[in-house]
Symmetry: C2
Subunit: 238 residues, 2 copies
């Protein structure tokens, strides 16, 4: 039984069911666990000695919130994150998560290609939390010009859930997306990342078994009390 790759629609349905009255999870809870998993996946591959300066690129949706949570945890882990957030999300939680980052003296780059270029020059690795499973192209400004800059930087990239610019189901067919070295899928991997060949982690260890069975997710076993599991081998065998 292999792990199931989710369509955009199914990913949305699982998210909805976790957070409706029956699932009872709050966005705060799920975002906290998701962001923690993202920070841990990055830390597992890129240690603080050589990769202390992390540029955390955040989009305006929930994945941007995961990015803000990850930036905070990375700071607690001893990294020096900088947030790139040209379009802050409007939800209240987004503002609160950003305040938590500011309380850790994490700098935020909000606009301008020059500012992004400069931030990239003083970064060692990128955490890509721009677009998530609800992304539908085309890529709009300012991300249409930001993605090529991130790629051109030559820095290693850790993408969250779906590499930014990839179609959630068709992947990087259009060729305009990032090419991450590491991917952290949340809950379950999405259709679009079947062809991803880098290091692949799974996070989001909060799906109840009943829901896993209902959707035939065939999730891998996480080690002991960890919040992430390396699924590189499991996914490349397919």
């Amino acid at each position: 039984m292999s792990i199931r790759y989710l369509s955009a629609r199914l990913a949305q349905q699982i998210d909805d069911e976790l957070m409706n009255a029956a699932g009872a999870f709050s966005l705060d809870q799920l975002m906290e666990l998701a962001g923690l998993a993202c920070a841990q996946a990055l830390a597992k591959v890129y240690g603080t000695e050589k990769y202390s300066r992390v540029l955390v690129a955040c989009g305006p949706g929930n994945q941007g919130g995961d990015g803000l949570v990850a930036a905070r945890h990375l700071s607690m882990f001893g990294y020096k994150p900088t947030i790139y957030m040209p379009k802050p999300g409007s939800k209240d939680i987004y503002q609160r998560l950003h305040t938590q980052c500011k309380n850790l003296n994490i700098t935020t780059v909000t606009e301008g290609e020059e500012a992004l270029r400069s931030a990239l020059k003083s970064s060692d690795v990128i955490l890509d939390a721009i677009f998530g499973f609800s992304f539908k192209g085309p890529i709009r400004s300012p991300f249409d010009s930001a993605l090529p800059l991130l790629s051109a930087s030559g820095l290693p990239i850790v993408s969250v859930d779906i590499p930014s610019g990839w179609d959630v189901e068709a992947g990087n067919e259009a060729g305009v997306g990032l090419n991450p070295d590491v991917l952290i899928s949340l809950t379950a991997p999405k259709e679009g990342v079947r062809m991803f060949t880098g290091r692949h982690f799974l996070g989001g260890r909060f799906v109840p078994r009943a829901m896993e069975e209902k959707f035939n997710l065939n999730l891998p076993a996480y080690p002991t009390y960890e919040q992430i599991v390396d699924i590189t081998e499991a996914t490349q065998k397919l």
Copy 2:
């Protein structure tokens, strides 16, 4: 510089400052991270092979909420938790956390000494999340009769923050508290646990450095991306 032990008042102040408008943390966030740390501390000492059946004893306050979060994570880790919760908390979050546990088919024992006795007979270890740093004696019903039953069970006990029945500052002077084998202090240890001689963990890796410095907490370094740190040696040297 040794780790600082907190008075009840200072513990409350830190909690308040984390969650006020400036600190910007939600209760959902802090409880999620605290409960995860509790579950991980238990899992670190008591593996699923020999100690799969965990009785999670929850009080009516915020620490009961930490217990519910821990019960959920323990279930995800492969344990078979049972919740003992004779006085459910009234906050909305408490209900939501309980629903999340019910969705994992975690059983709840709500009342009766007989029911507790029976639950203890089919448990391997106890997670004590009854009273937290806002506890002020005397111990009221039904916990006045429950604590002796937990002690008499002879099962290993993992206490959260302050062993139940201990005064937050004076410790177990009155001798009516539990005698846990393992303690997981949250944020920073409390005055009352100075004399605790068992295995001691610290969790709650979310205190901003500025706040740590303001209150001279002298927190120990957590390993890499972990959410708990073993402070047994550091605290027994004092």
